[in-house]
């Protein structure tokens, strides 16, 4: 059976994630209602505005659906805004979050939009050379603890973390042609 991957489509670059997964062996579909979220084996929280996505999650009961999905053991991957929503701590902010991962993040940590960049990163657990990564008003991880493990760093800043079934990237694998990070996540879903 192919895995069903939900792409949280309340707001953000969900369309790019859908395109990326459509090239792989899985069923990817946009989800924005609680029941749709709960029908998935894996969930992607896309890039976008973390405050907006967070507010919409709360307002429409999607927050509880994601928590239930997590408790059932489904894999969840957050990119950029998604990473912020998965973090337990957000520096200097009391905005709502899922708070599932043992990480502290700093928002817009590399600067404003004019400081956005692309670079090549070596990622632990992803073979065959560096991954081209796109950082857009990106966060980075200032601290990890517990079971969270850094998988990649740029300029000594942690930008990718895994903790059991949870994956977080500060960058956007959906904006490049390289599908190795998606493959890695599908591996987590199927485990």
């Amino acid at each position: 059976m192919t895995a069903r991957i939900g792409i949280l489509a309340l707001q953000g670059d969900f369309a790019k994630h859908l395109e990326a997964f459509s090239e792989l062996h899985c069923e990817a579909l946009p989800v924005k209602r609680p029941q749709e979220v709960m029908d998935c084996q894996g969930l992607v929280i896309p890039g976008g505005e973390s405050t907006t996505i967070g507010r919409l999650c709360q307002r429409f009961g999607v927050d509880e659906a994601i928590m239930e999905l997590y408790q059932r053991g489904a894999a969840i991957w957050g990119t950029c805004a998604g990473m912020i929503l998965l973090a337990k701590e957000i520096e200097g902010s009391d905005q709502w979050r899922l708070g599932l991962m043992d990480i502290a993040v700093r928002r817009n940590a590399f600067g404003r939009q004019v400081d956005s960049f692309e670079t090549d990163l070596t990622v632990e657990g992803i073979p065959d050379g560096p991954v081209r990564t796109v950082f857009i008003r990106a966060p980075y991880v200032t601290r990890v603890w517990g079971d969270a493990k850094g998988m990649a760093a740029f300029d000594d800043k942690i930008v990718m973390v895994q903790q059991g079934n949870l994956l977080a990237t500060a960058f956007h694998p959906e904006l490049t042609e390289d599908r190795r990070v998606q493959q890695y996540f599908l591996g987590m879903v199927q485990q």
């Binding site: 969900f14 369309a15 976008g48 405050t51 404003r112 939009q113 956005s116 670079t119 950082f135 904006l175």
Partner: protein
């Protein structure tokens, strides 16, 4: 190799804004109301389009203090407008560090022959269009995001629907045409051939396409999203209504669940304050229309 401000990072930010509402704000208090209601971005202005329309005179780039105060006050991206062709205003806005520049017909044009060459900038640009040819000319100049113009400050959706349908029909029309036919299409619409070819193959614009100019109600937002907009700009529609906070939240609600009439109905029913008073665009003399500015 690390590269800053690439095309990918510019269009990437536009992708991040999808499924959202970008709201015009004129001060910090407005910006916070917008952010609390779930706006994905705010457009920092000195006057909303309805006031520009009412007061007349030359409309220019906003006071930089207003823009900076708003950038300080919210964590979402901040956009600002420069006049069409006024690349020096754009340079100033870039130096301030705004996240997006709108080369906008809402301000009085600075140049009637030339738009800004936007590839020269690190900051991404959004530009308005009324048809596919205009959209592709702006993308050719480096716009990373397109919005259909509508008629700003009118509170009337009629021009927004006209422009969105014209763009979508234009894209559909290119489907299945041969390259020799596409060259003629490129000539007729005055657009770069390579971009016309790309649209014909991908059947969508090369950058995200949002809607602007006349959205005043949750149902207006749902209409534009169903016609193909990937996000909406709301200008005067929020802060010229009776209760901006509830209206902002309702328009966000309807934009998120635009394809579900029950949700859009819920968003409408939550509104107690009245919408802004609109104007009949057909009664506007040509010189008062903003959509005809730029080419």
């Amino acid at each position: 190799m690390t590269e800053k401000s690439t095309w990918q990072t510019k269009v990437g930010l536009a992708e991040m804004l999808r499924g959202g509402v970008i709201m015009d704000v004129v001060n910090v208090e407005h910006a916070k109301i917008a952010e609390d209601a779930g706006a994905v971005s705010v457009m920092a202005l000195e006057r909303v389009p309805a006031d520009i329309r009412a007061e007349g005179g030359v409309a220019r780039m906003a006071d930089l203090h207003i823009i900076e105060d708003i950038m300080e006050a919210v964590s979402i991206p901040v956009m600002a407008k420069c006049r069409i062709g006024h690349f020096a205003e754009a340079q100033v806005l870039e130096s301030l560090g705004v996240d997006f520049i709108d080369e906008s017909e809402v301000l009085t044009p600075a140049d009637e022959s030339f738009h800004i060459w936007k590839h020269d900038f690190k900051v991404p640009f959004v530009c308005g269009c009324t048809n596919l040819g205009e959209a592709l000319r702006r993308i050719g100049e480096g716009a990373a995001l397109i919005r259909t113009k509508g008629e700003a400050g009118s509170g009337n959706i009629v021009e927004a629907t006209r422009h969105m349908r014209t763009v979508m029909t234009g894209i559909e029309h290119l489907k299945g045409l041969r390259d020799d036919e596409l060259m003629t299409e490129a000539k007729n619409m005055g657009a770069p051939f390579e971009l016309v070819q790309q649209v014909a193959h991908e059947r969508r614009l090369p950058v995200p396409n949002f809607s602007a100019g006349g959205i005043a109600t949750p149902a207006d937002a749902a209409l534009m999203m169903q016609l193909g907009a990937e996000s909406v700009f709301v200008g005067s529609g929020i802060f010229k209504s009776e209760d901006p906070s509830e209206r902002a939240a309702a328009i966000v609600h309807a934009t998120t669940y635009y394809e579900d009439p029950h949700e859009v109905a819920k968003a409408c029913k939550g509104l107690k304050g009245a919408a802004m008073v609109g104007i009949d665009v057909a009664s506007l003399p040509d010189e008062e229309r903003m959509a005809t500015r730029g080419w």
